[in-house]
C-alpha cells in the first residue's frame, strides 16, 4: 500500500464509506448465514416458541450423511457445466454472426435475443413446458408430422435425461442473450485492422476466432464465464417449474431445489444455511481456481 507510510489513517478514512456499504451488504449477511448454519434454527426459534440452541457441526453432519446430497451435488455440477458450455457456445457463435450480417437481420436477431432475455424465468419455463406437453404441445405434433412417430405424445419430463435436456434448452435460451450482447460489444472494440490483417493472411473464420478474437476478448469471456457458472449453479425456477419440483422421484433435483425441499419449505433454516455455506464455498473455489488458472497462463486480469 506504499507511500503514506506507517501512521496513515487517511486512506482508510477515504475507503470507509465503501467498506461500510460492502460490510453491510456482503459480509454481514454471509456472517449471519454462517452463524445460523451452526444453530438449531427453525420457525419455532424465529417466533419464540423454543430457545435457540448451538448444534456445532450438526447441520453439516446431517447434510453429508444424507446419501442424496452427494448425488444432487454431482448432478448439479455436471448440469451447471453443461449449461455454461452450451450458453457460451451459443452466445459467442451468435455474437460473431451479429458482426457478419446486415443491419436488418442483425436488428431482428438482437430483438429476439432481448425478448428472451426480458422474459421472466417462470414465464419462460411455463411456456416451454407447454410447448413440449405430450397432449397439447406443438413440438410433439410437429415432430410426429415430420415422420418421427416415436415423438407422438412423447413425455419429455418422464425420462431423466430428456427432462434435463429440456431444462438445459430453456436455460440456454434465456441466458445466451447476456453472453451474446457482452461478447458482441467486446468484438466491436477490437480494432478492424487486426481482423482485416488476419483475413488477408487467409485465416479461416474459426482460426480468426481462436487465435485473434478469443485472446483479445479474454477479460470479457472471464466475466461472462464466471457469471454463467454462478447463475447455472444456482438454477432453481426452471427445475422447479418444468419438472414439478425436482422430477419423477427426485431425478432432476439440483442443489437449490434440494435445499428448498429439505430445509426452507419446512422452515429448517439452520440446515438450509449449511447448504448455502457449502454452495458458497464451492462457487468461491471454482471462481478462484478459474482465476488462478488464467493467471498462470500469464494473463493480466
Amino acid at each position: 500500500m506504499g507511500g503514506t507510510g506507517g501512521k496513515g489513517g487517511t486512506p482508510w478514512l477515504h475507503l470507509a464509506p465503501a467498506l461500510v456499504v460492502l460490510g453491510g451488504l456482503l459480509v454481514y449477511p454471509v456472517y449471519e448465514l454462517g452463524l445460523i448454519s451452526f444453530l438449531e434454527y427453525t420457525q419455532a426459534q424465529v417466533s419464540g416458541g423454543e430457545p435457540t440452541s448451538f448444534q456445532g457441526l450438526g447441520n453439516y453432519r446431517a447434510l453429508f450423511t444424507d446419501a442424496r446430497f452427494g448425488q444432487v451435488l454431482l448432478t448439479t455440477v455436471v448440469f451447471a457445466a453443461a449449461c455454461v458450455v452450451a450458453t457460451l457456445a451459443v452466445g459467442c457463435a451468435l455474437a460473431v454472426l451479429l458482426t457478419r450480417i446486415r443491419a436488418l437481420p442483425r436488428l431482428a436477431l438482437t430483438l429476439a435475443a432481448l425478448g428472451a432475455w426480458a422474459t421472466p424465468a417462470i414465464t419462460g419455463s411455463t411456456v416451454w413446458v407447454f410447448l413440449f406437453d405430450p397432449d397439447f404441445g406443438p413440438v410433439d405434433k410437429a415432430l410426429s408430422r415430420l415422420g418421427l412417430s416415436g415423438f407422438d405424445g412423447y413425455a419429455w419430463t418422464y425420462d431423466r435425461y430428456s427432462a434435463f435436456a429440456l431444462v438445459l434448452l430453456e436455460i440456454v435460451w434465456c441466458s445466451f442473450p447476456f453472453v451474446m450482447v457482452t461478447v458482441y460489444a467486446g468484438i466491436r472494440a477490437i480494432p478492424g485492422e487486426v481482423l482485416e490483417a488476419a483475413a488477408l493472411d487467409g485465416a479461416s473464420q474459426w482460426r480468426i476466432w481462436r487465435d485473434v478474437m478469443a485472446p483479445m476478448l479474454r477479460p470479457v469471456l472471464v466475466v461472462v464465464t464466471i457469471q454463467s457458472v454462478i447463475w447455472d449453479f444456482k438454477v432453481f425456477t426452471q427445475i422447479y417449474v418444468m419438472t414439478n419440483g425436482g422430477g419423477i422421484a427426485g431425478q432432476n433435483l439440483t442443489l437449490n431445489v434440494y435445499a428448498y425441499q429439505k430445509a426452507f419449505a419446512s422452515s429448517q433454516y439452520g440446515l438450509g444455511s449449511a447448504i448455502g455455506v457449502v454452495m458458497l464455498l464451492i462457487l468461491l473455489a471454482v471462481t478462484l481456481g478459474y482465476l488462478r488458472l488464467l493467471r498462470r497462463q500469464g494473463e493480466e486480469i
Binding site: 426459534q45 417466533s47 419464540g48 466475466v223 419446512s266 468461491l284
Partner: protein
C-alpha cells in the same frame, strides 16, 4: 474489468474470520445469536379492535357476506369492540402467518389455518391453548371426531374446526352408461372398471391417478388396514413398510401403466392435474374433493358426472378418506383473549357454518349441521357418508411438515410407478426418511 490481485487471499481470510467468528459466537453466551422474540402471551383487554385473518377463496364475496353478518352480530353484542376482517391469499398464507408469529404487533387475534399445520404452529409457539375456553362450548359436542383431532395436540385444543373437506370418486355417467358399467363397489372392481374403460376408450384415462397425489394414495393404504405411521410414546414410527400398508401402495401404484393411466404422463401428476383431466373430459373417473365441485361444473363434464364414496376392499365398505379442512385459532400474542375466543365461537359456530355451507358449499364440521346440509343438497351426500364412516389424517406432529416438504410419499409412489424400485424397497426407503424426521422433531415435542 480488473480483478485486483489481492482479492484471493483477502477474501479467503475474511471468510475464515467469519466462520471462526460464527463458531466462537455461537459457542459462547449467544449474545450475537439471531434475535428470538420473547414470544410471551398477550393480554385480555375488553375494548378495542380485533383483527381476523381468513383465507380468500376463489369466489370470496359470498363468504365475506356471511362473515360480515356474524361480525356485525358480535359487535352489537360487545359495546366498544370492533372486528376488522382481512381475507388473505391462500398461496402466501404460510409466509403471512409465520410473519405474524414473528411480529405480534401486526398479528391478528383470530386466524384461519389449514388443519395439517396445527402441530407445526403449536410448536412454533403461535397458537393459544383454548382447552379451558372451549370446554363449556355447547356447539362443540356435535363436532366430528376427525375434525376435533385436527385441532388437538397432546390432548389440548388449539382452535375450532371451521370446515371439513373430503374426497370421493367422481365418475362419468355418460361413459358408464354407454359401456354398460356400474360404479365400482370394491377397490378391485375400481381397478377392473378403469381397465375396461381405457380399453374401450383409449383416449380416456380409466381412473386419473397422480404420482404426486398423496391424498388419493392414502385411502388405499388405510382401506388395506395399513397406515403411514403410528404413535409410539411421545413420537411416531413409520409403518408405511408394514405388509398391510405395502398392499395398499401396491394397489394404488398398479393403476399406473398403459392399461389405465400411462406412467409417462401420470407419474408426475398432482391432485389438481387429475381434477383438471377429469373436468376437461380426459378421464372417466377421478378421486376429487367436494371442494372441486365448481371446477367440474366449469369444465366440459358439466351435467355428465356423479359421485360415490371411494369403495373399500370389501363390498359395502368405504375407504377411509383424508380429513382435510380449515380451523380457526387464537394467537398466543392476542391482547384481547376473551373477546377473541368469543368471536371464534361465533365464526366457527353452528349458525355460521350452516350459512357458509349455503353460501360456499363448505362442509360443516358439526355432524348434525352436516346431515341437514346433505338433505338440502344431495350432491354432498356421498361426501357426508364418507365422513360418517370415518375419515383419517396424517400424523399430528411438526415432523410431518418436513416429510411433506421433502416429498417423501410422492417419491415413494414415483419410484414404484417408474420402475426404479419395487414396493418393498421404495416403502423401506420412505420409512427410513420418515423415521429420521420423527427422531429429529421428536426430541423436544
Amino acid at each position: 474489468m480488473a480483478w485486483p490481485s489481492t482479492t484471493t487471499p483477502a477474501s479467503l481470510r475474511t471468510l475464515v474470520l467469519v466462520v471462526v467468528g460464527a463458531l466462537l459466537c455461537a459457542a459462547g453466551a449467544g449474545g450475537c445469536a439471531p434475535r428470538t422474540p420473547a414470544g410471551g402471551a398477550g393480554g385480555d383487554r375488553a375494548t378495542g379492535t380485533l383483527r381476523v385473518w381468513l383465507f380468500r377463496e376463489v369466489d370470496n364475496a359470498p363468504k365475506a357476506a356471511v362473515v360480515d353478518e356474524a361480525v356485525a352480530a358480535f359487535e352489537r353484542a360487545h359495546r366498544g369492540v370492533r372486528a376488522e376482517v382481512t381475507h388473505i391469499p391462500v398461496e402466501t398464507r404460510a409466509q403471512r402467518i409465520k410473519a405474524a408469529f414473528n411480529d405480534p404487533r401486526s398479528a391478528p387475534d383470530v386466524v384461519e389455518y389449514g388443519n395439517t399445520d396445527t402441530a407445526g404452529y403449536v410448536r412454533d409457539g403461535g397458537l393459544a391453548d383454548l382447552t379451558a375456553d372451549l370446554a363449556a362450548w355447547d356447539d362443540a359436542r356435535a363436532l366430528d371426531p376427525a375434525a376435533k383431532r385436527s385441532v388437538t395436540v397432546d390432548g389440548k385444543l388449539y382452535g375450532a374446526p371451521l370446515l371439513v373437506g373430503v374426497r370421493a370418486l367422481y365418475y362419468r355417467t355418460d361413459v358408464f352408461r354407454e359401456l354398460g358399467l356400474k360404479p365400482p363397489a370394491t377397490l378391485d372392481e375400481l381397478a377392473a372398471t378403469a381397465r375396461r374403460v381405457h380399453a374401450a376408450r383409449p383416449g380416456l384415462y380409466g381412473l386419473a391417478v397422480g404420482g404426486a397425489y398423496t391424498y388419493a394414495a392414502l385411502p388405499f393404504v388405510w382401506a388395506h388396514g395399513g397406515d403411514v405411521a403410528e404413535r409410539k410414546g411421545r413420537s411416531y414410527e413409520a409403518t408405511v413398510d408394514d405388509p398391510a400398508a405395502r398392499r395398499g401402495i401396491a394397489a394404488y401404484t398398479s393403476l399406473f401403466g398403459d392399461h389405465n393411466c400411462p406412467a409417462s404422463r401420470c407419474a408426475r401428476m398432482t391432485g389438481n392435474e387429475t381434477v383438471q383431466a377429469f373436468a376437461s373430459g380426459k378421464a372417466a373417473m377421478a378421486i376429487a374433493g367436494d371442494f372441486s365441485h365448481q371446477a367440474m361444473e366449469n369444465g366440459k363434464v358439466k351435467g355428465a358426472y356423479a359421485v360415490v364414496p371411494l369403495p373399500g376392499t370389501r363390498e359395502g365398505r368405504i375407504a377411509p378418506a383424508f380429513a382435510g379442512g380449515n380451523n380457526l385459532g387464537v394467537l398466543r400474542s392476542s391482547t384481547h383473549r376473551t373477546l377473541a375466543v368469543d368471536l371464534l365461537k361465533s365464526l366457527a359456530g353452528k349458525r355460521t357454518q350452516a350459512r357458509l355451507f349455503d353460501a360456499m358449499g363448505f362442509l360443516p364440521a358439526f355432524t348434525d349441521v352436516r346431515a341437514e346440509a346433505a338433505r338440502k343438497r344431495p350432491f354432498v351426500e356421498p361426501f357426508v357418508r364418507t365422513l360418517a364412516s370415518g375419515a383419517r389424517s396424517v400424523p399430528v406432529t411438526p415432523a410431518w411438515a418436513a416429510i411433506d416438504a421433502g416429498q417423501v410419499l410422492p417419491t415413494l409412489l414415483q419410484e414404484v410407478v417408474s420402475g426404479r424400485a419395487d414396493v418393498d424397497a421404495a416403502t423401506a426407503g420412505a420409512a427410513r426418511k420418515m423415521n429420521a424426521a420423527f427422531r429429529k422433531n421428536g426430541l423436544r415435542s
